[in-house]
């Protein structure tokens, strides 16, 4: 029996405003409990909400980034339920008139298993709406009691709802990652998943091919991509097993336990589904003018997709490289700055030189720089070297001053101590020997000293070539220009 998997995501992105969505209280993370819970956050009698412009701006920017319709008029509604972390007894959200309408995003899917090839897919975004976050429950403070911290209450959230367009855990993860990258790229959310700035709810259902949609279960509050994948895999298998054993799926809200790798249904709230939505009488309709939208459009940075196109079309970079370089805006900006500095003073991107240099920049960024960041637990924002520093080194590779192995030495010093590539080359004597006379002399010496091996080579044992290269490099203390050395060695060994 062939099963189809249907997945849709609801992502809560905390917007990177200074203050809460409806009051002037700070949203900074990690403050002492309730020290950022102002009169509005704790819902004192008589206080009223006033909408934060920063939150609206970010919502519009998101909408524009996914090509969505921005509603000229949207409405805030109250979602009524009782919970200690919800001080008003209702959450202010948007219900039937959200600020962002239908949009779409192209994702690059890397299949998780087998030899399947990466592919592109378009995922539709149903809507995105503004709402306020709830506070936090702190357990175990006092026996039998729960502590309530309302610092987070009222933090602006953009809830981004996708269509159920994903049909595997890999697609869901790719969508979540692309979205995560996009919200950080356009600077509306810090994306910090540990701190809860980007939280995913995943709706999963399965059906037999050709049958109507199955009943979905919603996995709540996934805060890592790894857990998301594990949770979906487990849940899909559980649903298939249940149905194949003649069981039925009940609509439910479920949690993923990373310890056991299993999902389980939350204790159901008996009246959880009667939220009694109605338009919030304390807030007026949010009207967004075409001018406001254009202002926001002008503030948007070049989007990842446009940048990928630029990289593949102008610099002939592979799709893989373009993707890797646009994983974050910091990475892409680093690449652009480094490339410009390396091509300077003639920054013309066209032609062979541009492509070569771009490929070199890309290789170093995706290779050595990323690996080092990873090893040191850093990211692009905390990268110890600047694009100018890296470029200083790339220029010396390009003009044959240093070899690739010499460059690795330079890079290590740049990373650990900083400084300037030329100074390091000078100080460490890494300048490679490109004087053909000097290399010829060196090669002659090796041929003389290793007559036996030379004879073996000449009688057809080609593999020995590497042995001679090694000897020659050692003799040059690693400074011989490798290409030149190869050429001379080949000629001399040929006799």
């Amino acid at each position: 029996m062939k099963w189809e998997i249907v997945i849709g995501l609801e992502v809560h992105a905390q917007l990177s405003t200074q203050t809460k969505i409806f009051s002037g209280a700070s949203t900074a993370f990690g403050a002492e409990p309730n020290t950022q819970a102002d009169a509005v956050s704790i819902a004192l009698p008589g206080v009223l909400p006033v909408l934060n412009k920063g939150a609206v701006e970010r919502a519009i920017q998101f909408g524009l980034a996914v090509g969505a319709h921005i509603a000229p008029r949207s409405v805030f509604a109250r979602k009524n339920y009782f919970y200690p972390d919800l001080p008003k007894g209702y959450q202010i959200s948007q219900f039937d008139l959200p600020v962002v309408g239908m949009g779409a995003m192209t994702i690059q899917v890397e299949p998780l298993s087998g030899n399947a090839k990466p592919y592109e897919k378009v995922v539709r975004i149903t809507r995105a709406h503004l709402e306020e976050d709830a506070g936090k429950s702190v357990h175990g403070a006092t026996q039998g009691m729960t502590g309530i911290d309302l610092n987070r209450a009222g933090t602006p959230l953009l809830e981004i709802v996708s269509e159920p367009d994903m049909s595997s855990a890999a697609e869901a993860v790719a969508y979540a990652k692309t979205l995560h990258s996009l919200v950080r790229w356009i600077g509306i959310c810090d994306g910090n998943m540990q701190e809860g700035s980007f939280r995913c709810d995943v709706n999963v259902s399965v059906r037999r091919a050709g049958e109507p949609l199955g009943t979905r279960r919603e996995i709540k509050n996934l805060n890592s991509f790894k857990f998301m994948q594990q949770a979906i895999d487990y849940e899909v298998q559980w649903q298939i097993d249940t149905l194949e054993n003649g069981g039925k799926i009940q609509q439910a809200t479920i949690l993923f336990d990373p310890e056991t790798g299993e999902t389980h249904a939350m204790r159901s709230k008996e009246d959880a589904h009667d939220y009694r939505y109605f338009p919030d009488p304390d807030l007026l309709p949010l009207d967004i003018s075409p001018e406001f939208i254009e202002q926001m459009r002008a503030k948007l940075p070049e989007l990842p997709e446009a940048r990928r196109t630029r990289y593949t079309e102008n610099y002939a970079l592979s799709a893989y490289d373009a993707n890797a370089l646009t994983a974050t805006r910091e990475m892409a900006d680093f690449f652009d700055a480094c490339l410009a500095a390396t091509l300077s003073p003639s920054p013309s991107p066209a032609g062979g030189r541009g492509e070569q240099v771009a490929k070199m920049c890309a290789n170093w960024l995706i290779g050595e720089v990323s690996a080092q960041l990873n090893r040191d637990g850093l990211d692009m924002t905390t990268c110890p070297i600047t694009p100018t520093q890296l470029s200083g080194m790339l220029v010396r590779i390009a003009d044959n001053t240093i070899s690739n192995s010499g460059a690795k030495d330079v890079f290590r010093v740049l990373w650990a101590e900083g400084g300037d590539a030329d100074a390091i080359i000078e100080a460490k004597g890494l300048k490679q020997v490109s004087d053909s006379g000097a290399i010829e002399a060196l090669v002659d010496e090796i041929i003389t000293a290793n007559a036996e091996k030379v004879a073996e080579y000449r009688s057809g044992k080609d593999k020995l070539f590497g042995f001679f290269v090694g000897l020659a490099m050692k003799a040059s203390k690693g400074k011989a220009n490798p290409a030149q050395l190869n050429e001379i060695l080949k000629a001399k060994l040929a006799g």
Partner: protein
Amino acid sequence: MINASLKQLSAALAEKKISSVELTQLYLDRIAALNPTLNAFVTLDAERSLAQAKAADAMLAAGHAQPLTGIPLAQKDIFCATGWRTTCGSKMLENFIAPYDAHVIQQFNQAGAVNLGKTNMDEFAMGSSNETSYFGAVRNPWNTNAVPGGSSGGAASAVAARLCAAATGTDTGGSIRQPAALCGISGIKPTYGTVSRYGMIAFASSLDQAGPMARSAEDCALMLNVMTGFDERDSTSLQREKEDYTRDLNQPLAGLRIGLPKEFFAAGLDNDVAECVQAAIAEYQKLGAVVVDISLPNSRLAVPVYYVLAPAEASSNLSRFDGVRYGYRAPDYTDLTDMYEKSRAQGFGAEVKRRIMIGTYVLSHGYYDAYYLQAQKIRRLIAQDFAAAFTQCDVIMGPTSPSTAFNLGEKGDDPVQMYLSDIYTIAVNLAGLPGMSIPAGFGKNGLPVGLQLIGDYFKEAQMLNAAHQYQQATDWHQRAPQHI
């Protein structure tokens, strides 16, 4: 002194005929004598009041006086005032000391007015007789067996009994106008959005509006000058130029077109009230006004619409009273839900619970369209009726309440009968228009009758002008209850 107008009091203070401390003490003494009978105040704090009076005297001495500096006013217990217990007439907030000032309170503080105390009210402003207060019913000074009206019953009783120079009230469906009528005083509910709701404990957010309750239209105008003004903390506060509401008081009324809605003079209106209102209209005609017959065909639906919308908003507004961060928490409970249910069941009175239930029901799944949405659509029809009427007239007049003050307990068992006592006032809140009540005589039982004036949006100055001119020609507003 106790019968003096605000203008006269202001002059007396300026001329040092009396100090604010003396005036405040005079009122505190009257309150001490009469409040045990009337129960108009729920919280008094002589020390705070006198400290404010002392500061006001300093302002007066320094020549920084504004029109209301040093004048003792009563604040409805719905306004948060720092350091003052603010109960909203509820056990839920019996021990709630407000940690901040409402916008209205700030305005009065800046004006140098004295807060004389917090006045009794129907619990969370839900009632038309002041009998739903947790702190006991308020008595009508004209007849202490009668109700003062509600929800601003304490304010109306206090003003009528000369326990304060003037008072604040709030009006969601008639809560300023109906008690003003029943106690023989003047009160105006301005256009929605004119007075900030910040710090005013919400009943029905889209209808609530604060306003003054005083002994004359002129006093109301002076109070309104202080209370109104844009406040960025209330999203529904309107960004308008500050107005001087006294500017047109002395304009002649010649040519004023008074609209009389036929629906306001139909069955259900007591004869003695109708007679007083008609006499008042005749007086207006003498002053040069002309009468136009108009119709507000959907106004009969105002009560049903209101009893969907107001409870719906209230049910949500009152959810914050959950025993977690402030307010009443039940002493014994087994778990979280039990704590919520017991705290709210014990902390709220019967009428509040009834309205929460109505509101919860009309918003709940499957009923929203039939009740809430339908009510919002009829709300628009009601507003459109007024818009059409104001093409024909400048001000609408009619009775404020269908009867004079009824006796305590008289409508106790039947909420529907109680709800119908606001039949003429509710439509005004639904439309967001300004409405006013002024004394216009006495009914057969010797109790006051109120004349209601309804103006177009932002026409408060014109209404106050009409009211003031009437009060220049009549003396109903100067009559004081004699029995207490």
